[in-house]
C-alpha cells in the first residue's frame, strides 16, 4: 500500500489488518463517525428500537396505564386477541382495504399514468399536477370533506346522482353497515390515486424512448406496447407501489377516525383504530400493544420486500 504524506512524498505503509484499519479510520474520521453513524443509531435505538421492543414486551403484560404496576400475564393478551371477534373483523377489513386499494387506486393510477404519458393528451403535465393534489391533502381534511358530501340528506353525492338520473344508486353511504367499508376505501381512492399515478409516471419516464420506437416499427399496438414494453420495464416500480399500498392499508386510521369511528356496528373497524380504542379509550395497554405488534408483523413482511429493493438499488448507486 502506498500513501501520500502531507509533504507529498510516497511512503510505503505496512498492510494493516482489517480491524486496525477500521480503528485508524475511526480515529481519523471521528466527527463523521460520531455524527453520521453513532448519533443516528443512538437516536434510532432510543426513539424507535426501544419502543418497538418495549411494545412487544408490553403485549405480554396487563397494565391500565395509570397504576405503576404491570402484571406479567404471558400469552394471555394474545390468546384473547385471537378469540376476539372485533380483531377478526378488523383484520378482515384491513385485508379488504388492501385488495380494493390495489384494484382501484393503484390499477387506476397505472392506467392514468400510461394514458397521460402516451402523448395523446394535451396539457398532460397540468393534469398530472392537479390529479396529484389530493395526495398531499390530509386524510383528516378529506374525511371532513366527504362526510359533508356523503351525508344522506343534504349530501352532494346523492343529490348529484339524482340530478344525473342515477337515482337508483342513491345509498346511505356511511350508515349502511354492508357498504361503509367500501365507501371509506372510495374516499381513500380519491386521496391515493394521484400518488399511485405519479409513482408509475416516475417509472414510465425512465423507460428508454428507443424501446417504444422499436415497438412502433415492429407494428405493436398500444395495448401490446403496454403489456410487452411498459409493464415489464416498470416492474420494480409496480413492486414498490404494491408493497407501499399494502403497508398503508394495514395502518389505515385517519379516515376511520374522522368519518365513522369504526361504526356502524363496528363494520368499518380496522386494526389501527381497534388498537386506539383498546389502548387509549379502554386503557388496556397490554392488549393494545398486542394489536400494535400484529400490525407491525403484518407490515414487516411487506417492508422487507421494499427494503430489499432499496438495498439492491443501494449497491447499484455506490
Amino acid at each position: 500500500m502506498t500513501a501520500v504524506t502531507s509533504a507529498g512524498k510516497y511512503v510505503v505503509t505496512r498492510p494493516a489488518s482489517r480491524g486496525a484499519a477500521f480503528w485508524r479510520a475511526l480515529v481519523r474520521h471521528w466527527p463523521v463517525y460520531l455524527g453520521g453513524v453513532i448519533l443516528p443509531l443512538v437516536v434510532y435505538a432510543v426513539f424507535i428500537g426501544f419502543p418497538v421492543l418495549s411494545t412487544m414486551y408490553l403485549s405480554l403484560e396487563r397494565w391500565n396505564g395509570l397504576e405503576a404496576q404491570r402484571v406479567f400475564v404471558g400469552l394471555e393478551n394474545w390468546r384473547a386477541l385471537f378469540q376476539d371477534p372485533s380483531f377478526t373483523l378488523s383484520l378482515t377489513n384491513n385485508v379488504k382495504w388492501a385488495i380494493v386499494s390495489l384494484l382501484v387506486p393503484v390499477g387506476g393510477g397505472l392506467l392514468l399514468a400510461v394514458f397521460l404519458s402516451s402523448g395523446k393528451v394535451h396539457f398532460s403535465s397540468a393534469f398530472r399536477a392537479l390529479m396529484f393534489l389530493p395526495s398531499t391533502m390530509s386524510l383528516v381534511s378529506i374525511g371532513v370533506m366527504f362526510a359533508v358530501i356523503l351525508n344522506p340528506v343534504f349530501g352532494g353525492l346523492n343529490e348529484a346522482l339524482r340530478a344525473l338520473g342515477l337515482g337508483f344508486l342513491i345509498r346511505e353511504w356511511l350508515e349502511d353497515p354492508n357498504l361503509v367499508l367500501y365507501t371509506l376505501t372510495g374516499v381513500f381512492t380519491w386521496h391515493y390515486l394521484g400518488m399511485a399515478m405519479i409513482m408509475f409516471h416516475a417509472g414510465i419516464s425512465q423507460v428508454p424512448v428507443e424501446l417504444y420506437e422499436t415497438a412502433k416499427i415492429e407494428g405493436s399496438g398500444p395495448f401490446q406496447t403496454l403489456w410487452y414494453v411498459t409493464i415489464p420495464m416498470i416492474k420494480p416500480v409496480i413492486t414498490v407501489v404494491t408493497v407501499l399500498t399494502v403497508m398503508i392499508s394495514f395502518r389505515a386510521f385517519d379516515i376511520v377516525m374522522v368519518m365513522t369511528r369504526g361504526g356502524p356496528f363496528k363494520q368499518s373497524n380496522v386494526l389501527a383504530y381497534f388498537m386506539y380504542l383498546e389502548a387509549f379509550q379502554k386503557y388496556r395497554f397490554g392488549y393494545g400493544a398486542a394489536i400494535g405488534v400484529c400490525i407491525l408483523l403484518l407490515s414487516s413482511i411487506f417492508a422487507a420486500i421494499y427494503l430489499s429493493r432499496i438495498a439492491g438499488e443501494a449497491e447499484y448507486v455506490s
Binding site: G36, Y44, A147, M275
Partner: protein, 295 residues
Amino acid sequence: MYLNPSQRHLQIPAAVLRRRRLNAAVKVVGTLIFAIVFIVWAFPVVLTIMTALKSDVEVMRGPLALPSHPTFDAFVGVWSMLNFKQMLWNSMFISVGGTALAIALALLPAYALSRFNIPGGDVIFIVILTGEMIPAQAVIIPLYEELRGLHLLDSLWGLVLVHGVYGLPFVLLVMRGFMASIPKELENAARVDGCSDLGVFRHVILPLVIPAIAVAGTLNIISIWNELFFAMIFLDSQANFPVAVGLTILKQGRYFSSWNLPAAAMLIGQMPTIILYIFAYRYIKQGIFSGAVKG
C-alpha cells in the same frame, strides 16, 4: 411549413399529413376524456368550496346549486370557533420544527453513508430506513412514556422531537442518493487544498445538496402537517392542537349540525399545504420519484 421554392421537394406527402391530422384529432379526444375524469375528480373540491360559501339554509335548499349570496360567514365563524390562528401556528411550528430536526439529524449520516467506506454501512442504512416503515401503533405506548419522562407530553416540542426522529429515514434516503451522485473529483480537489472531512462537507457537499434538502423538506413538512395519530395521542390541551387534530373536534357533536362550517374549516386548514404544493410542486414530484424509482 415555411419552405422556399428550392426546398419544395421537402414538402410532406399527403398521406403523412392525413396521419398527422388524425393524430391531432385523437389527441383532442384524449384530452376530452381526461377532462371528464378530471371533472369527476375535482367535483368534491368544487362542491366543498361552494358549500363553504353558502349559508346553512342555502345548503339545505340544494347542495348542488351555485351560491346565490356568496358569504364568508362560515370562514369567519369557524376561524374564531376553532381558534384557527393558534392551530395554524401549532401546525407550522410542528411541521417546520420537525422537518428542520430531521434534516439536521440526517445530513451527517447521509454524508457518512454515501462517501465513506463505513464497515456495515449498508446494514446501518437499512436499519435506519426501517424507521420509516414501523407503524405508529407499534411504538406509541412506550413513546408516550418516554415523552412523559422528558416532560414533553402535551408540548409542541415533544412532537417536534418525535417527527424529527421519524422523519430522519426518508430525509436520509433522499440525501444519500443525492450525495452519492456528486463526483469524487470535487471532493478530492478540496482535500488537496487541505479540507478536513467536515470542511469538505460544509464547502463542497452541502452547497450541492440544497435542492435535495428542498425535496426532502417540502414532502416532510406536508406529511407532518397532515399527520394525526402522534399529535392526537401526545397532545392534550386544545391550545396545543394542530389543524389535523382540531378538525377531528368538528365531528364531535356540537358543530356538525352545520354543513358550511366543516367545509370552511377544511379549506382553511389545508390551504397552507396547497400553497406550498403550488410553489414547490417540482420538489414534491422529485421526492416521490426518489421514493418510487430509487426506493
